[in-house]
Amino acid sequence: LVCLTLACPGIVFGQAKPLRVCSDPENMPFSNQKLEGFENRIASLMAKELGTTVSYVWWGQRRGFIRNTMNATLQEGRCDVVIGVPEGYDLVSTTPPYYRSTYVFVYPKGKGISVKSLDDPSLKKLKIGVHLLGDDYTNPPPVHELSKRGVVDNVVGFNTFYSAENPPSTIIDAVASGKVNLAIVWGPIAGYYAARQKVPLELVPVPSGQGDLPFAFNISMGVKKGDEALKARVDNVRRQRSAEITAILKEYGVPLMDAGRTHTK
């Protein structure tokens, strides 16, 4: 369905305001300034449906991201929508989720590793790569659960400050090259970079045991709090175009869980 410009609420013919998207300039597979990420693709799809184009506000997606983009002091610096945030993320107003993914174990196929749970005794010996998030003592949930299980000394941190020297692929490259035996990585990152390695890698969802933190998360789109009109329009596209959105996610190798939910309201 192509949305005719005249039929789109709030848009004046010929003068459709661009959809302003808050986005990370260097964080594949999600987004980059060359518009190669799946969130860039979804943003384009959404703008097309809304009869407009995308304009980006680029900002590193870390502490202060929403503060400096969607909630920027100066009106000119602001953007309207974030393509991916966890459902219920309380700095923005979120749509119902459009996908659900999970942290996964990543290790070489056929090299004698078969870890399926954080309680696997081999985790005490294997060299394990994890991301360091840089948020005062808080890191990915499987990392906290490893330390609860006494797996500490053999865990190696990978910085999420990406640059030419430290691209987002670093942690998966380290698994492929044997620098670490295994990594625990958020699904979309693992899926995308594992598919680009020369050696075959296994991706196994990390199951949450009783009393553990959650490892799977619903991902939604987010708009500025209180902007219910825009949220309704964005959510309309999310529902109308869910098959295409899911196809994009699959093209990028995002491990999808509970697929039924991606299509629910």
Binding site: R63, P86, Y137
Partner: protein, 583 residues
């Protein structure tokens, strides 16, 4: 008592009349202010970091007549920490990012701009800074102004013309490194630090030649002895995690020329949660005493081993001589984020005293023999459990706002926070494309409900003498003078003048924005004493107003919004310098 300040730029004026320290009743006669006293050439006034001025025209009797002489807009909205400098007839005013430096001509009416330096910096550095894009000021030596930019460049400017003489990059903001602290010049070297501990940046201090910018040495907070200049770090980390060990260096420096040692504090250990970095995590949270020529450390004292609260130990170390059990000792005094006031022998690092100066419950005290805190295990945080009512909060019993010490009263003047916090591991968060469940930190007022208090502290007794309760935190620094007037600013924007001995408020003025900067004083070309302060709310505590953050989220700004959600009722953003004098 002789303050080491006197051995620095201030000359010997402050040392003319040794007195005992403890009782408020002992008062040295005001020595005549020297030319050095009339200026303010480094962030904390002198190498001892006392923020005490021997100028006494403004005193407890006439301060009630203080009026605005002139004011100046910096043109920048974010939080304004630090203070202007005065060298001769020129005032140097710095701003938060983009780190503009203005030279104002004090010899002309209205202090017009002599020159303006605007560094070129990539705006991509802005989101790296944790707690607003603050800068704590410039320093002066040998005809040069030294500036640390947010993007980690150290710059030397010709003080007369503003011309850039050299520029040296200390780090890479793309790896989470930024600089917010002021440099310090010691002999022919300029010493600079680094920020970014929350990203696992490995802290260091660097000495550069003041004339060429050439790096003389760099010493790290964590790692092998050759790189730390002191043994004992590597074995307090697992594996090679000292490489992401934190211990950043974003605070203030002081220097004892007699011992030829300089002092500074290091911040929290890297980004792992405490369970993931067993051990003391040395030398995070540490006071270092280093030789300025070699960078080697004479001693290191860790205040908060194995930190679990973000008690980022960078607060200033003030060098004074104090009567300890009847004996005069050369000590340093440090009012730490963790709520304890530490007194150490500054030659040996021996711990002499560690008393709480605010409400503290994470530890019952500090064992003076081992130097270790006596912790309450109930108050140790963990990513997998909730911990309630920890005092002080991560914002500290005192944050970066520097204290002042008056040799006339023998008291420290300390702007404090009265904040506690809850750690709750419930909130879904998001970073670099990754969702996770984080411990949310909610800061809240401590006992009594007031969020701050400005106190006078007797270092000999290790006790509070008097206190002025503040509705909001006292996030601005202190200034004491030979007129026995102490100045400090509040987050609402009041500049207050109080009696150094009694704490009586003698005068106050509402500046255009909240004050998180530090008052300073100087004698102008007309021979009159002036008081100057930057207002412009922001920083960690004021991030909500500075960045227009959503007030619905009490955990935003690392819990700062929860603690200061009403700040916008008192103050809006905007940097203004206000200068006062007697009519």
């Amino acid at each position: 008592m002789c303050v080491i300040a006197a051995l620095g730029i201030a000359g010997l004026a402050g040392c003319s009349s040794p007195t005992s320290t403890a009782p408020a009743s002992t008062t040295a006669p005001a020595a005549a202010a020297t030319d050095a006293d009339k200026q303010w050439t480094m962030p904390n006034k002198n190498q001892s970091a006392t923020r005490y001025s021997a100028v006494s025209e403004i005193n407890t009797e006439n301060v009630k007549n203080l009026k605005v002489a002139w004011s100046f807009s910096t043109g920048v909205l974010r939080g304004h920490e630090g203070e202007p400098l005065v060298v001769g007839n020129t005032m140097f005013v710095h701003t938060p990012f983009p780190n503009i430096v203005y030279a104002l001509d004090l010899s002309k009416e209205g202090a017009p701009v002599k020159w303006k330096y605007v560094p070129k910096q990539d705006p991509a550095v802005i989101p790296i800074a944790c707690c607003d894009t603050v800068n704590r000021g410039v320093t002066y030596a040998n005809g040069k102004i030294f500036l640390n930019q947010l993007d980690t460049n150290t710059v030397a400017l010709d003080a007369e013309t503003g011309k850039e003489l050299w520029k040296v990059k200390q780090g890479d903001y793309k790896q989470g490194q930024t600089v917010t602290s002021a440099p310090m010049v010691i002999k022919d070297k300029v010493i600079s630090g680094i920020s970014g501990g929350e990203f696992g940046v490995r802290g260091f201090v660097t000495a550069n030649d003041i004339n060429t910018g050439k790096q003389i040495w760099r010493m790290y907070s964590t790692g092998p002895e050759a790189e730390v200049g002191f043994p004992g770090s590597v074995e307090t980390w697992k594996g090679e995690e000292w490489k992401r060990g934190g211990g950043t260096t974003w605070g203030w420096y002081s220097y004892d020329p007699e011992l030829d040692l300089f002092y500074y504090g290091t911040g929290n250990p890297g980004s792992w949660n405490p369970d993931q970095r067993p051990g003391d995590n040395k030398y995070s949270m540490t006071i270092f005493a280093r030789n300025p020529d070699t960078g080697k450390a004479a001693w290191a004292y860790q205040k908060t081993p194995h930190d679990a609260w973000d008690y980022d130990g960078i607060n200033e170390n003030v060098l004074v001589d104090v009567n300890v059990n009847g004996q005069m000792r050369k000590v340093l005094v440090n009012f730490d984020r963790n709520g304890f006031s530490y007194m150490l022998d500054r030659k040996t690092g021996e711990l002499l005293q560690a008393n709480p100066f605010v409400h503290v419950n994470w530890a019952k005290g500090v064992d003076l023999k081992t130097g270790k805190p006596i912790e309450d295990p109930e108050k140790r945080t963990s990513a997998t459990k909730n911990t309630k009512d920890i005092c002080p909060s991560a914002m500290g019993g005192k944050n970066q706002q520097p204290v002042s010490y008056s040799p006339r009263t023998g008291f420290f003047y300390v702007p404090t926070n009265n904040l506690c916090m809850d750690y709750e591991g419930v909130q879904v968060k998001y970073q670099a494309g990754q969702p996770y469940v984080g411990a949310i930190v909610v800061s809240k007022p401590g006992p009594g409900g007031n969020r701050g208090e400005f106190i006078a502290w007797d270092p000999s007794a290790g006790k509070k003498v008097w206190g002025i309760k503040e509705e909001l935190s006292a996030w601005g620094g202190a200034l004491s003078t030979a007129g026995d007037v102490v100045f400090y600013g509040t987050m609402e924007g009041w500049l207050k003048a109080v009696h150094a001995k009694t704490g009586d408020v003698l005068w106050k003025f509402k500046t255009p924005s909240g004050i998180i900067g530090n008052p300073m004083t100087y004698v102008g070309p007309d021979g009159k004493q002036y008081i100057a302060v930057l207002s412009g709310v922001g920083g960690w505590s004021g991030i909500g107003v500075a960045a227009d953050m959503s007030l619905e989220d009490p955990t935003a700004g690392l819990g700062a919004i929860g603690a200061f959600k009403d700040l916008a009722n008192f103050s809006n953003q905007g940097g203004v310098l206000t200068v006062f004098s007697l009519p």
